[in-house]
Structure formats: C-alpha cells, structure tokens
Symmetry: C2
Subunit: 354 residues, 2 copies
Amino acid sequence: MSDEPVDLSTGLSCPLPISEYKRILLAHGGGGRLTNQLIKSIFLTVFNNSILSSLHDGAVFDIGSTRIAYSTDSYVVNPIFFPGGNIGDLAVNGTVNDLAMCGADPLYLSVGFIIEEGLLIEDLVRVVEGIERAARRAGVSIVTGDTKVVDRGKGDKIYVNTSGIGIVFEGVDIKPQNVRVGDKIIISGKIAQHGISIMSVREGLEFGTTVESDTAPLNHLVKSILRVTKNIHMMRDPTRGGLASSLNEIAEAANVGIFIIERSIPIDEEVKSACELLGFDPLYVANEGKMIIVVPPSEVDIVLNIMHNHPLGRDAAVIGEVVDSHHGTVVMKTRIGGMRVVDMLTGEQLPRIC
Amino acid sequence: MSDEPVDLSTGLSCPLPISEYKRILLAHGGGGRLTNQLIKSIFLTVFNNSILSSLHDGAVFDIGSTRIAYSTDSYVVNPIFFPGGNIGDLAVNGTVNDLAMCGADPLYLSVGFIIEEGLLIEDLVRVVEGIERAARRAGVSIVTGDTKVVDRGKGDKIYVNTSGIGIVFEGVDIKPQNVRVGDKIIISGKIAQHGISIMSVREGLEFGTTVESDTAPLNHLVKSILRVTKNIHMMRDPTRGGLASSLNEIAEAANVGIFIIERSIPIDEEVKSACELLGFDPLYVANEGKMIIVVPPSEVDIVLNIMHNHPLGRDAAVIGEVVDSHHGTVVMKTRIGGMRVVDMLTGEQLPRIC
C-alpha cells in the first residue's frame, strides 16, 4: 500500500477535494486528525450544506414548529461482546448520546445490521436483546430497520448502524460556536474506561478486577441538567479519539484556547495502570458514557450539584476553562506542573473501539 | 457450518424467539422467506412496538402536528461501481424510495460509511459524488454522517448505510392493510434491470448492449401522482427479492389474494434473454427504480396517465388485481395460459445485489 501524498484535484473532470493519502488507512476511522481531514476535505466539500457544516454530533433543523436533532453512527467494535455491554447496547447508547449532546430528547431509532454469513443466531439474539435493553433504559423506540448479509470474510460477525431522531428542548441552543472565554469545562466522570475494557478483552489481559465499559445513555442526565438551567454552551461525548480529540474539536470550532489541569481529570487507578501497561495516553482512549459540558462560571455549581446526584455524574469535576490565548489549541498543566500541548489524536491508537 | 434446525427457546434465561437455523445464511439477507422469518421471529419479537410492526418500508409517526416517515437501509452491493450508478447513488435512491413509498416527501438523509482499509481515496470520492448527485436529483440534503474503517479482509471496499426523514403528504394513508379486493396492481416500468446489470458485471457477461441498473429516485413521480389523487392504497418498491417477493408481502400483510398476468409485466427483451441465460426468474430479480402501486379501479386511468408522462413511469402497466381467493398467495397466469403460484423468494438468488 502506497501512502505517498497525492493530489486528487488533477486529471479528473471536476474540482475534487485534496487528500494527503492515496488509500484509506485505519487511522481515517480513528476519530483524530485523519478522520477530521477526511470529513473536511471530502465530505464537507462534496456535501455542501449549512446543517452538515455545523460539525455538531448531530444535525439540527426544524420540521413544522418542532426543532429536531438527527444523528447516525456505525459500530464495528471488536469483540462484539465485552465487559459491561455488547455492540447492541453501544449502538443505541452512542446515538442516544449524540442526540442528547445536541440538547435533544431522543425518541426514535433505526437499526441497520450488516451480518457476516455464519454468525450464530444465538449471538444475533444477544445483540438484538442488548439493543432492546439499551433502548428501554434510554426510553427510545426502535421503529425501523434493515438487515444485510455478506459472505464470509467480507465482514466480521456483525456491524450495527443506528440513526436517531430527537426533539430539541425548548430554549436550548448548544453548539461549539457558543463557547466563550471564561467558560468552565466539566467532565461527567472517570475517563478511558470503554477503550481499556475493549483492549483488555482483545489482548487477553487480566487486571485485579474486570474493567467494564462505561457504555450508558446520557439523555436522562442531560434532561435533569436542562430542567434546572438552559444556560449551557456546549456538550460533547468524548468517544473515539478520547477527551483530547473532543476538546480539540471544540477549541477549533469555537476558535478559543482550552486550558485543562491533569490532576483534575477523574480516572480510575486500575484504568490508569492499564494505560501505562499498554502504553496508552488515557486522554486519547474512548469513552462511551461520559460527557464534556462547557458552561458559564455562574452555572458551574448548579450543574455539578445535579450531576453529583445522578449515577452517571457522581464523579463529575471541573477540569479546566476556556481562555483567550493559544486559539484552537488545548494546553494542559501536567501532574508534575509542566505545560503540555494536548494535540488531536494522530494515527490510530485503538482500531475498532466502537 | 451446521444448518440443522435449532430451538433457541430452551436452555436460556429468558423467552427467546425460535429460528429454524443455527447460523446466519446468505439467504437471510436475500429479501425472501428467510429474511421475513428473521424479521418476524427475532426483530419483531424483541423490538415489540406498534410502529415497527406495521411492516411498512419505513416507520410513520407524528412529531408535533407533522406526520413523519423514517427509514434506513444498508448497502453492500458488489461490485460498488456498475452500469447506471454506484453504491452511493443506490444508497440515496433506496432510502428516498422507501420514504416515497410511505407517501412522504423525503427531506433529510444521514450517511454512514464502513470502509475497508486500503480503499482508494479516489474510489471513496466517486462514491461520495454519487451520493451528492443522487441527493441533488431527489432534492434531499445529506445532513449528518459517520465514518468507520475496518481492517483489510473485514469488509469489502465500502458499505454504505443511509437513513432518511420525510414528511407524509396531507391526506395520504398508504399501508398494506388498506388494500381491497378489486384493487388494480400497477408496475411503473420494466422489471429486473438492476439485478441483471449487477450480475452481468460480476460474471463478466457481454450482451448486445450494456444492461444499466434502473436506480432512480421515485419521489418526484410519487408526488405527481399524489397531487392528482390521494386515493392510493399501497405502494412498494420491489428491490431485493423482486416483484414476486413484494407482491407476496402485500398479499400476506393485507390477507388478500393477488392475481397477475405474466404477459402484462413489462420486461426488456435483453434482460429477459439474460435471465434465461443465467437461469434467473425475472420475477425475483431486484429493481431499484420501480414501484408497485395498488389503486381502486376508479383511479387506474388517472394514475397511468400521470405515469406515462413521467420518464420513470413511461412503461407503466396494469399487471393484475386483488382477489378474494387464495388469501396470502400470489397466483400468475403464465404466458402459455397455465396458472402458477408465485411464492416468495426462497434461498438466495443473487447475494449482495444492493
């Protein structure tokens, strides 16, 4: 496979976007710099419309007098069963969370399966039950679906796509462009659990106890917060690419600097050790039940109070703030007191983590 | 692989649906009997809700005072480029058509890619351009998306999922349960073109001329019809499993008999020869730009007149009617005058046709 840069804009009949690579790499799906580049250089260029360009977790538009949020995600996680869930739970929670991050109440989901010939029906049933269990927990309905089967060796057991529709809460306006200097950055709980859970199964690692994926629906927590204050500037669930990549996306889209303090970031001791053992930086490891929430200083106590009283926000903490320097960049005060630029994920740390 | 029937309801902790097979076969994705069985025995059982149970091409529900149609489809067609289109066009037209078949005006689409590592960026761009071209032709916007990359040998170039949202036209109520004895069955044009186009590329066959896929958006044609009459009982696009499987689905869901006349069914001479050569029954070969429309006798001339004046309905013809005998079954008067039961597709005639 040749990785040399190539300019696709030459020799073809219409103006084409430019990509650095000739072929798709695993890293193009990693949620970091290359995914970002693919989105900007190809998808946003060819699908040129304002709703897509907002670069939110989902699209937001009006139907009649109702503000709708709409999102989709495909799941290719390997293995399909892991401590704390399966690809089915993950697919529902992922789309529910994308809608919740738009300030919406998720209502209806679609499910599309791409199944590899030979999958045990029993395994399919476990996945389908995972989907229904997660849908019930989130309070959403699976209303439409599709099933395709591909020949052996052209898939990997099962891939699941979900899309979802939600109604944006009245008076709520959440988008990266609303982020302001002085805003505080809150994370809802301990980071890096999903990624380490998957890696421990994949590598057959044994720690003291099993690290469980944090896959969970955040919509009820979001609803509780929005019931008390609508003065929320931005929310995002740091999945692929981890906390670091999501903060970079926000800094870039809002054209602000983000400053975080390493020792404020909640992380489980076991997960931290596992990261050290595996050579991973936990800032880049995927979460599937955590959210970043950016709020004006006036709202911090109100929001933290709600979060600390909710099972999915018990360990919520302020980890930093939005600053008027190093625009588009995330800077972290490290545990030992130094300053470090926390870049977007480059390359692919954990392929097929979600 | 073992194919012996197995009863999954035993030995597990909760009541589980029963399936005839232990493992997923290619035929479970063929759009025929096994797909139907999978939907009924697993999906409808586990995802138990009234919207899903309507067994329509899409879900229909209200948001505020607006009636919404919502649908999803994954595309795994092989090869990804074929005469008349590519997997991108197909994915947009397929979801647009599912929404149109619900009597809706399609507005917004999501796109999810599952890409195999190593895909040429150039090929991705061609697919993305196919999506945009088809979206523009149908008048819909791609508003949200997702990209995953899987390792080599765990996918096949690119799989595309689309989901879509449309607004159901006022006063329109289209569902299999509305079909009545005496209704006439119209097909919008020549059948079996998509399937034969794909097979000719796959098998490297050369006919006199190239058989092109009929992939096309039917929403404008549907809109023209509904502008003139809303008295339409049912519409369906006969994709996987072909005309025969779609008519069987309607007969079963409406609990009526369907009677069709073989010599009334429009088919291209070249496609007919290709079917004979390949040993395919054209009634089971996929279409991607055709629709079945079931109307009361009073509406036949009105509908045919609109169709004959539209490029996608030029060859529209009445092919049969709904009868009060052999309920749940499709019977055809053959070209040589005999009567034949036209069953749902059994097994898998053309894997990965869409």
